[in-house]
Symmetry: C2
Subunit: 211 residues, 2 copies
């Protein structure tokens, strides 16, 4: 089923959550699930669930409930395509990069880690999640030869400012961005997912101190 | 200024983002900022910014703009309290736990890492972000003696199911939860921030494959 271009970002952001719940339901051996049960798990309404699914053609008859495995297949295909893995490089192989690389190297996520880069000579040459850490000087020649599509930025803000323009020029289309530099302002043509880990930690602190 | 209890979760979740922008403005030497400029940076409206700030007393006169350093101080105090650090333990000292521990051990975030625990004998005894990794068997005696308030869960879903009840019983009030177990269903009395790193990766994949 081809996806419509019109799907809004909030709907897209909910797809992984649906997917996670469906993986759990499937693991429990459940065959059917209703929109109201999905709504309860998602913290939303049954009407919202049906609206979300209608963006993608509806995923089956709502009167008798949805088939768990059909939903899982359809949403999985939307998220991961038809099995083709997106070639991905990682910039910044420190502690955060090391942890994050394990998400990329799990085939089930739809990506394939093909290289990691760092400026630290102590890290260059080491293995990480199945790839060798290369010096940043090799970035351009590597990208010209291997044509990665996605870059994961696990570097500080200033390094991200410096490297992101080059990455866009070298053909990177999507960024999983852990730096605090919002590169989509200067590069609106690429797709960016920003992860601000500290934000949830600060929110937690607020809620604990002011609850 | 005492915070009101009525502040809604979406407003709380925006506070760290305001804080990050203000840190940047302050670093650039800016003294004043308008609600419309803040709105532009936040991707929202000036009216929303003023509404958000009114939840906390307004933060100064809107006609002439906000003073950057006043905003930074006030929002900083909301997020981090008056300098008292929340004693925090980390469960699961693998690659993710190792990366995440560095966020806790930065004093600026308002937390103080006092111990890490793991079941892996290869990790027990090692140093991580200034603390020694302890065997999980020591969890109960450690908590009774040192009274941590926050737990960071960097373990798989099943381990989170097993350990979270014990942590609540031992007095943990807040969880920074990287497992895929939504413990707030069974423990509604505690404050939980869930981080699903894979979700943003899946959303990115959808947008790249279906853009």
């Amino acid at each position: 089923m081809p996806a419509q271009n019109k799907v809004s970002l909030p709907v897209i952001k909910r797809l992984p959550k649906y997917y996670r719940y469906l993986v759990n339901l499937s693991a429990e051996g459940r065959e059917k699930v209703s929109s109201s049960e999905l709504a309860h798990m998602m913290g939303t309404t049954a009407s919202q669930v049906r609206q979300d699914f209608n963006c993608f053609g509806g995923f089956g008859q709502q009167g008798i409930g949805y088939k768990v495995n059909v939903l899982l297949d359809e949403i999985g295909r939307l998220l991961f395509g038809d099995g083709e893995l997106l070639p991905t490089i990682l910039i910044g192989a420190g502690r955060l990069g090391n942890a994050v690389s394990s998400f990329i190297s799990r085939d089930t996520n739809g990506y394939r880690l093909i290289a990691a880069f760092d400026i630290n000579p102590d890290l260059v040459g080491r293995e990480m999640s199945g790839v060798t850490i290369r010096p940043l000087e090799e970035l351009e020649s590597f990208c010209r030869e291997h044509k990665p599509v996605v870059a994961v930025l696990c570097v500080p803000r200033q390094s991200a400012v410096e490297v992101s323009g080059e990455l866009v020029r070298l053909g990177i289309k999507g960024f999983w961005n852990f730096s605090h530099y919002d590169l989509s302002v200067e590069h609106p043509e690429v797709t960016v997912e920003n992860v601000h880990l500290g934000d949830s930690l600060m929110s937690l602190g607020y809620r604990l101190r002011n609850g």
